[in-house]
């Protein structure tokens, strides 16, 4: 067993590296979504570098744990994690959003490690439930992780899937809500309030785990806790900061869907040293 403190420190360092890649990638691409990529960076770094059983050089390994990014616009985060984990060379990150690139503006299956395309919000949880049902039919041990945005849960399709996950007792499912409080038009609570979040998911039959989404210790124990729960799906409601790690992006709605300029990127990278 690795020393937990060392493991946490290593993951925090990895998350910082992921954030640097996100900033560099977006600055090079000139468009994309930094805010929600940065807010979920710790949650997804923990998954790929500690929690999930994966073989990056064998992306179709049948026993692999599955991850699906339901909030597809935050693919810079996913791409950085996949490259860093070894699914494809880091240099490919600099082709983000270019014609012919394996890294599309929203994820699709031309990227090694991407199971199902996303981008149209609200569908990811259904996709994850489908993967869970196959796990049950085939009696596989794999687990399925699905990252959703908070604004995204305004989609009705999410609640159809929430109902199904509970009905089919998908205890192999762990959803993660990146609750950064902002969506493209402003604050979630002003645009279309999703509260009371915990009550809603509990009412739909889910096990809920509320954490501070930038605390690596809490993140790891939340994933562990979710694994222990039987007979129902779990959701980690992670309170996060949009644009986390870059002072001038934090809680600034403008950076939901705007890439940093060259100067902003340089400043951001200094902060992420």
């Amino acid at each position: 067993m690795p020393n937990p403190d060392i493991q946490i420190r290593q993951l925090e360092e990895k998350a910082k590296q992921i954030r640097r890649l996100i900033v560099q990638m977006l600055a090079k691409a000139g468009s994309g979504h930094p805010g929600g990529s940065l807010s979920a960076a710790d949650l997804i770094t923990a998954l790929y570098f500690s929690v999930m059983r994966i073989k990056p050089l064998e992306p179709h390994w049948p026993e692999r744990d599955r991850f699906h990014l339901s909030k597809g616009h935050c693919c810079p985060l996913w791409y950085a994690v996949l490259a860093e984990a070894g699914y494809f060379p880091i240099e490919k990150l600099w082709t983000l959003r270019q014609l012919g690139s394996i890294l599309q503006g929203h994820p699709d299956r031309r990227t090694p490690g991407v199971e199902v395309a996303s981008g149209s919000l609200g569908q990811g949880l259904s996709i994850a439930v489908g993967m869970c049902l196959v796990g049950k039919v085939d009696k596989k041990e794999y687990r399925v992780y699905c990252l959703m945005g908070d604004g995204e849960t305004q989609e009705g399709n999410i609640w159809e899937a929430a109902m199904a996950a509970s009905h089919f007792k998908c205890d192999n499912l762990c959803a993660i809500l990146d609750y950064n409080g902002f969506q493209i038009d402003g604050k979630v609570k002003d645009i279309m309030n999703i509260e009371p979040v915990i009550d809603k998911w509990r009412a739909f039959g889910w096990n809920t785990i509320e954490i501070e989404g930038h605390n690596m210790g809490q993140i790891l124990s939340a994933y562990d806790q979710a694994k222990e729960v039987k007979g129902k799906p779990s959701i980690i409601i992670a309170h996060t900061i949009k644009g986390k790690g870059v002072s001038f992006m934090e809680n600034v709605v403008d950076f939901h869907g705007r890439a940093p300029t060259k100067e902003e990127a340089e400043k951001a990278l200094q902060e992420l040293q």
Binding site: V116, S120, M131, L133, V137, N157, E160, M163, A164
Partner: protein, 308 residues
């Protein structure tokens, strides 16, 4: 004259396939009694999932299943499969090119008394515009079995359109091959291109035309996408014109598909018999076909107009 429900044949064929292939999973959205996927559910409860009244969830969920290497049959009424869940079908089923077979029943006017909200008249148009999507409309019970078997073996997403009423079994169709239209009667005066329920109407029209000395070539265009260009262009070149009849809007369906091929390659007169920018309504199927000019008599009239 044999009369069969396409849906019964679909359900029975699924059971047959389910016995041979353990990788088949079936989903329905609370209409399994009507679509007959309940036959599969009874036989293989562990591989059937009723998703409830949630078509969007069903389509995206099917993609999750297919991403794990399964072949998924997804059924509900055509109106909901095509319209209610279109974004899920476009972005998640078809974009990923998954082995998902949407078998949609209760298409067209012959749904009957349930009326407009349940009569899919735009589904072929909605599916035709999606890249990767294939569209098949079997003309009777036995052909439904052929289609279901063929789409199971074929890669990628399919939209299979079935009707609600009993269909007359069409004799002497020859071998069924996806993408290969069937010439049911030989003739060089006029062509009649049809699919689904309209095939039988076209054959009645052809018989009546023959009595008037007119030889009509009836073509069963069961695969609308990809369209059999060869058979359509041959009809354009060797007959005086094409009458298309379908239980669908004249916009975007079989007639449009044929128009596109003919207009670009060998322009001839194409007469479109279909629903002309209208909604459906309640009524007996036969009454509705008459009201919307989709009977053998209408086909006959249109054919005579082409050759006159």
């Amino acid at each position: 004259m044999e009369l069969l429900y396409q849906r019964d044949i679909y359900g029975k064929t699924l059971v047959e396939l389910g016995k041979q292939n353990s990788e088949i999973i079936v989903l329905d959205a609370d209409l399994s009694g009507s679509t007959r996927t309940n036959l599969f559910a009874r036989e293989f409860p562990e591989r059937f999932f009723n998703i409830g009244v949630a078509e969007q969830n069903m389509m995206a969920l099917a993609a999750g299943i297919a991403s794990c290497g399964k072949t998924v049959f997804v059924s509900t009424f055509a109106i909901f499969a095509s319209g209610r869940a279109w974004d899920q079908v476009r972005n998640t089923v078809a974009y990923n090119n998954f082995n998902i077979k949407i078998v949609a029943s209760h298409a067209g006017l012959t749904v009957g008394q349930d009326g407009s909200s349940h009569q899919a008249l735009e589904d072929i148009a909605l599916m035709r515009v999606i890249p990767n999507m294939n569209i098949v409309v079997p003309c009777d019970g036995p052909q439904t079995a052929d289609v279901i078997k063929a789409v199971t073996l074929a890669k990628g997403p399919f939209y299979v359109r079935l009707g609600r009423p009993k269909f007359v079994t069409i004799g002497n169709k020859g071998e069924f091959k996806l993408g290969k239209a069937q010439v049911l009667t030989e003739g060089n005066d006029v062509s009649i291109a049809v699919c689904g329920f309209m095939v039988n109407e076209a054959l009645i029209a052809a018989k009546n035309l023959l009595q008037k000395g007119v030889k009509a070539r009836v073509i069963n265009v069961h695969t609308i996408k990809p369209l059999d260009r060869e058979v359509i262009l041959d009809a354009a070149k060797t007959t005086k014109g094409i009458v298309v009849c379908e239980e669908h809007s004249v916009i975007g369906g079989l007639a449009s598909a044929i128009d596109e091929v003919v207009a670009e390659n060998f322009p001839v007169r194409v007469t479109r018999l279909g629903v002309k920018n209208r909604y459906g309504q309640s009524g007996e199927p036969a009454e509705l076909l008459k009201e919307y000019n989709l009977t053998s008599t209408d086909i006959e009239k249109a054919a005579l107009a082409v050759i006159s």
